[in-house]
């Protein structure tokens, strides 16, 4: 197998102007998704370090790996010094060092509330295998949610398939899809399997890559819009998950929706883990107050 274009780049970050040593409460959140895993470490509810990696086919290790990677560049923080960890995502039950599991729906809402501010009412999580439209209150508590059923068309996995098909790195697809003079009609089938053959058809018909990508991106955006239409759009609006990094999809989404999404300040893939780390903090404080 040649280069795997679908493989998006993993990332890691540590807050330079923060040390866990001066902190009171050190908590973590680990989001083991079907495609990617993230670990977020917080000190007194402030973002301290995070790591974002691809999920292996056995999640217990994914959780440990991503956590260790996040710990690596901290100023000597070790796992046992983390007071509380919440696991989330498909693999939430398989985070060996987590004290508790909470769904990524609750975590994404909570995380978006932290990353984008308390004005967020609608969160669109565009993940690898499903899209979730979430309504939340000013605290980031879920008030309603809707997930794509029946069909995985329009999910992140689709983009990966396309990356391989077109030999374009997944990181560049968004930009590339925007390099079209005029918007082509969306592909009729966003089914991951059939979109593939449809795209091959278009390529055979002589369409340039960017045009094919544009057609697929707008089809994807359209599906997400209908999910949002069904739950009802309430501003402010934020997008989390991997696809949030794909400008080609996001811009088309905003255009069709007539609503601008808030600008992300962090890696949009860590929203779930951020929420989990914040829940961890709340749980630590609860236990403390119990003791008193």
């Amino acid at each position: 197998m040649a280069e795997e274009y679908w493989r998006w780049t993993e990332s890691r970050w540590t807050n330079p102007d923060l040390s866990w040593k001066d902190g009171e409460i050190v908590t973590a959140g680990v989001d083991v998704g079907s495609v990617s895993s993230q670990a977020v470490i917080m000190v007194d509810g402030r973002l301290y370090a995070y790591a974002n990696t691809r999920t292996g086919s056995d999640s217990p290790n994914s959780a440990i790996n991503v956590m260790n990677w996040a710990l690596e560049e901290t100023d000597g923080l070790s796992l046992d010094q983390v007071q509380y960890t919440v696991g989330t995502g498909y693999g939430r039950v398989n985070v060996p060092f987590a004290q508790r599991a909470i769904t990524e729906i609750a975590c994404h809402a909570r995380g978006a509330n932290f990353m984008y501010g308390p004005t967020v009412r609608t969160v669109m999580d565009m993940g690898g295998q499903d899209c979730k439209a979430i309504h939340c209150d000013e605290k980031g508590k879920v008030t309603n949610f809707l997930m794509n059923d029946k069909c995985a068309a329009g999910t992140g996995r689709g983009m990966e398939v396309f990356a391989d098909l077109l030999n374009v790195s997944i990181n560049e697809m968004g930009e590339l899809s925007l390099r079209v003079e005029e918007e082509p009609p969306p592909v009729s089938s966003t089914c991951v399997v059939f979109a593939k053959s449809e795209a091959s058809g278009l390529l055979r018909a002589g369409w340039p890559k960017e045009k094919v990508l544009a057609a697929y991106s707008s089809a994807m955006a359209h599906r997400v819009v209908s999910l949002l239409e069904r739950i009802g759009m309430e501003e402010d609006f934020a997008i989390t998950g991997g696809i949030a990094k794909n400008k080609g999809v996001v811009l088309r989404l905003e255009k069709e929706l007539g609503v601008k999404a808030l600008e992300p300040k962090y890696d949009t893939q860590i929203a779930g883990a951020v929420g989990a780390a914040l829940f961890s903090k709340a749980l630590v404080e609860k236990e403390k107050s119990k003791k008193k």
Binding site: Y90, I105, R110, N144
Partner: protein, 376 residues
Amino acid sequence: MIEMFQEWYENRHEYAREWKKKNPDGKVLGYFCTYVPEEILYGANVLPVRILGSHEPQNVTEPHIFGMFCPFCRDCLAQGLEGRYDYLDGIMIAQSCLHIRQAFTSWHLHIPVPFSYYLPMPHHVQSPRAYTFLTEELKVFKKAVEDWTGRRITDADLDRGIEIMNRSRRLMKQAFETRKADNPPMTGLEAMYMSVSNQWIDKEEHSNILEIVLEKDLPGRDVGKSDVPRLILLGSEDDDTAFVKMAEDCGSVFVIDDHCTGTRYFWNEVQPREDRLAAIAARYVDRPACPTKDWPRRSRLDHVLELAQDWNVAGAVVIQQKFCDPHELDIPPQRKNLGENDIPSLFLELDVTVPIGQFRIRVEAFLEMLSQEDLF
């Protein structure tokens, strides 16, 4: 005693075969819809057993039923094609939806049995004309059963049939009443075993066990469900114990339902009157309606809301068999109505097998939404 129902649920075919051994002159009839007037069948010493699926993947129905019809009707037909109901002496359906009718007609074509009957149960149950029409049809049906079994069905027989059915309905309702308690004495899973097995176990036998369970088992029973969200389960046909178990294991309890496999089946009784068939007809016309018959007025909205409120639920899980048109036409207003009365709902589409992973996250997130835990 209560575990008896699960045993029956799991060994439905063994039970029916045993029953035939014990009742050499009795006949077993498989029915496809709960609008079938079992009073007349019990009056004729016929054991009615509801035909349900097995929730296993299968590949035998493709030649018979086009894939756009609901997985439930295909699962039912698969049971017949795979010979699991080889002990049946007859089959019948009372008109409800087109989907299950296909399972019946394909069964009729490919798995011949001595007796096969289609009862045109009226749809317009909100019209007074439905009573007379169904009464007339029941006469025709009674005659057909008599010709089949070779013995007359007397008024005494009908009275016996009516009493067997009414007693079972009374007891089932009592059992479900106990779930109103803040600490329900049985789980939704146990309740499902109880009500679904009731659709094929000899009613008298089922009632005898149920009486003991009501006296001995349930009082003071603790299944550890006092402090979890109370839910109502409603929608299409649903005997999916795997799903109910998963949902309750996530930390919830189903305290009431609106399914043809549940309350809708036993909710109201036959009010005795001189014309027995008219009395039976009235019972089926007046029972909590299947969505196919719930027009022009949407009577189900009030009925479901009442259940939800009387059983004091925090939320509703609304399930639908994939492609189930009747419920697809009922669920949006149903959820709207519940929502307007501060009962949030979770919608799920059931297939033959449950994609546990995809469902668990939805259920857990829903329960998190309902939970009062303050992590904010």
